[in-house]
């Protein structure tokens, strides 16, 4: 089987140790007999933005009646909801119209491949703090932006995506993401099972006692 490693935007900014762990995971996947080839999703720097426009718009419709109680929500919820009114109907429709273009890019990237491979996250989990930022290699960004960068685009395209542990960095888990064709979850499970037969990352347990 062949897997397309998505070069470009989704892996160009990474925490250095997370990046190194990702390279190791790519090698492990290749060692299971999978051929790894480089592919591109040329405009996926826009896909996350388009995804957020849709999320904001749909969230605001649901929460409009409660917008007055915005202070009662936690910081993240309040800031997301607070940002929502600035998405116009035209922005929302533009994002919907772009959706098939992103779907088409995934379709092209998948030509000759069973699945695409990306990091599941380009940074480590954030430290709990009033302002949560993470290191993406040379600069810090909001954890939400870093956490969703590789994931929201595939909510937008509706692709099946499987995230699997691929190691530990500073004691925290890092993972890879396999993205497949619509309705082809089966191939992702096949690839994932082969990876987990050859590795033990998924068997690691946190040091917290199970029944403390």
């Amino acid at each position: 089987m062949r897997v397309g490693r998505v070069r470009g935007h989704l892996e160009e900014e990474m925490h250095p140790a997370v990046a190194a762990a990702y390279e190791a995971a790519v090698a492990e996947l290749a060692a299971t007999g999978v051929e790894i080839v480089d592919v591109e999703l040329p405009t996926f720097d826009l896909a996350a933005a388009a995804g957020w426009w849709i999320i904001y718009a749909e969230m605001l419709s649901l929460h409009e009646g409660h917008a007055a109680f915005i202070e009662d929500r936690d910081e993240m919820g309040a800031s997301l909801l607070g940002a929502a009114p600035f998405v116009s109907a035209a922005d929302y429709l533009r994002a919907l119209r772009l959706r098939p273009l992103f779907q088409h890019e995934v379709e092209v990237a998948l030509e000759g491949c069973t699945a695409l491979l990306t990091p599941a996250m380009v940074a480590l989990p954030p430290v709990i703090a009033p302002e949560m930022f993470v290191d993406v290699g040379g600069r810090e960004v909001s954890w939400l932006e870093a956490g969703c960068r590789t994931q929201v685009p595939f909510n937008l395209t509706g692709s099946p995506a499987l995230v699997m542990p691929s190691g530990l960095v500073d004691g925290m888990p890092v993972s890879i993401q396999l993205v497949g064709r619509p309705r082809d979850e089966a191939s992702l499970f096949t690839l994932g099972a082969a990876y987990q037969r050859a590795t033990t990352h998924h068997l690691r347990r946190p040091p917290v006692p199970a029944h403390a």
């Binding site: 749909e58 116009s88 919907l96 959706r99 088409h104 395209t157 619509p182």
Partner: protein, 61 residues
């Protein structure tokens, strides 16, 4: 208290980067409250509270 249409409408037009004549902007300002009220009425439909939007979306292109 909703935002003043005389402020909001020019701001939205500026954000959209479209420049109607002053007379046209005045008409848009005058018409804004009626439409805003009509849109508010959509939130007063009780059955819509947990309804999904009627949007067609398919993961298959």
């Amino acid at each position: 208290m909703p935002a003043d249409p005389a402020v909001l409408v020019p701001a939205l037009l500026a954000a959209a980067d479209i420049t109607p004549s002053p007379e046209e902007v005045a008409i848009m300002i005058a018409e804004f409250p009626g439409r805003a009220a009509a849109l508010d009425a959509l939130y007063a439909v009780p059955e819509a509270r947990y309804e999904e939007p009627d949007l067609v979306y398919d993961a298959v292109l």
